[in-house]
Amino acid sequence: MDNAALQGGFIDPARDAARAFRAGMEAMARPGTIQTLNGCTAPAPMSVAAATLLSTLCDAETPLHLAGTCDTDGVRKWVRFHLGAPLVGRADAMFAVGDWDALAPLDAYAVGTPDYPDRSATLIVEVAALTNTGATLTGPGIAQTATLSLPDGLLAARVARYPLGIDFYFTCGDRIAALPRTTKGAR
């Protein structure tokens, strides 16, 4: 196995993962806010934030889908060594990571069931820019409104009826934001 695959994990796993989870949790609890998330590096093109989030949440119990440019031999090896997550197609994925064009369409991902709406996929969308501009967001976690740059077409692609749905993270460099299924967005 090459060196790139062996490197890039947490230095102090328990404490670093705790800090990383806090950033990821704050992002999910406060949609539209941008948090800093770092500690892990995966082979290019995966961002530091995406690599760190995966390291925080994924293991052998979480089937993972690598989409588009994230589906490289290097990333696969890194996933195998650091996470041990089984690599799967869209339909079986608990997590998926890649850019928006490669992740779409959404209809193949699990959206949960009426009895268990939590059994739904979380998509980690790698974006070129992540800023507090663009769509106006409202919903749980947002006092009045928030603003976040979203990939084109994402809002319209969310067709599952609440409480079913897919939850999104957006990652860019070492920054992360989230869009849970409860957040309403308007351009």
Partner: protein
């Protein structure tokens, strides 16, 4: 205790709990099943809250633990010590200084803010459980958003007693979708649940986690002609004179004499430091 991992739980368990917390935040008020572990304290002593706290605590956190609103109740002391030992974190009794607050049965009087997390210990997470003991049935009711049974129960109270006879663990509707058990807090605390802090609920024995993101709409169930009232004992605190805090009734002598004092000990002490005095306080004259 140094043989144990940071915050006691192993990393795989923490990841499992963390994933459940995130889904809980994404579906406010929905009870996410999680593979609760046996903890070194008994079920019923806050194992759900402890597992949630263990999954969110960072080395930089300052932890406050309360039981019945007080920092010095024995179980609060015991849980605080557990995290001091296993996570080597700072602890406090001051609500404002805490970043993570684990609680049993109360929400602090002082409004919580951005950057704070309130972790509730939950005995029975299912608000419909005492109306329908079967998990297989209550799960269907949540799926179908079929909450008629709960309204019937509350309405029967009104026809029998003239009031809704639920004083604590008063059910709420979250984000216009799920009926949720707020844990056995007095209904006085219900209106505080629309807050700036993140609220996480852990039920260890029942293997459920649920959550409220900040500013989530939380409505106590009621009827137009019988609106919800957040009631408390109609007295000021005997020690600090507070009119707006939840009170414990303390029996002070064999003759049945009693006084009312803040259940939130930090709130009461803070007010006394600021010079407030209640009528039962010997420094009343000061």
């Amino acid at each position: 205790m140094s043989d144990y991992n940071f915050a006691y739980l192993d990393e795989q368990t923490k990841r499992m709990i963390r994933r459940a917390i995130l889904k809980g935040l994404a579906i406010p008020g929905y009870q996410v099943p999680f593979a609760s572990r046996e903890m070194p304290m008994p079920y019923g002593w806050g194992t759900g809250g402890v597992q949630v706290s263990a999954a969110v605590l960072c080395p930089e956190d300052t932890l406050k633990v309360i039981d019945q609103g007080a920092d010095d109740t024995t179980n609060a002391v015991s849980i605080r010590r557990f995290f001091e030992r296993t996570a080597q974190i700072a602890v406090t009794t001051a609500t404002a200084d805490a970043t993570v607050i684990q609680t049993r049965h109360r929400i602090p009087e002082e409004p919580l803010r951005d950057g704070q997390i309130l972790v509730y210990q939950v005995p029975i997470p299912e608000p419909l459980r005492f109306l329908e003991p079967r998990e297989s049935e209550t799960r269907k009711m949540h799926a179908l958003e079929e909450y008629g049974l709960m309204h019937v129960k509350l309405y029967e109270d009104i026809s029998r007693h003239g009031h809704i006879a639920t004083a604590y663990a008063y059910p709420v509707k979250v984000a216009d979708r799920y009926v949720m058990d707020p844990s056995p807090i007095p209904k006085f605390d219900n209106p505080k649940m629309e807050m700036a802090a993140i609220q996480l609920f852990g039920a260890g024995r029942e293997q459920r986690i649920y959550a409220l993101p900040p500013f989530t709409r939380v409505v106590s169930l009621d009827f137009e002609d019988h609106p919800f009232v957040a009631s408390k004992a109609d007295h000021p605190c005997g020690l600090c004179g507070a009119q707006d805090s939840y009170l414990d009734e303390v029996i002070v002598d064999d003759a049945g004499g009693r006084m009312f004092v803040c259940s939130d000990t930090d709130y009461c002490a803070g007010r006394q430091v600021d010079g407030h005095r209640g009528s039962d306080n010997k420094e009343y004259a000061a």
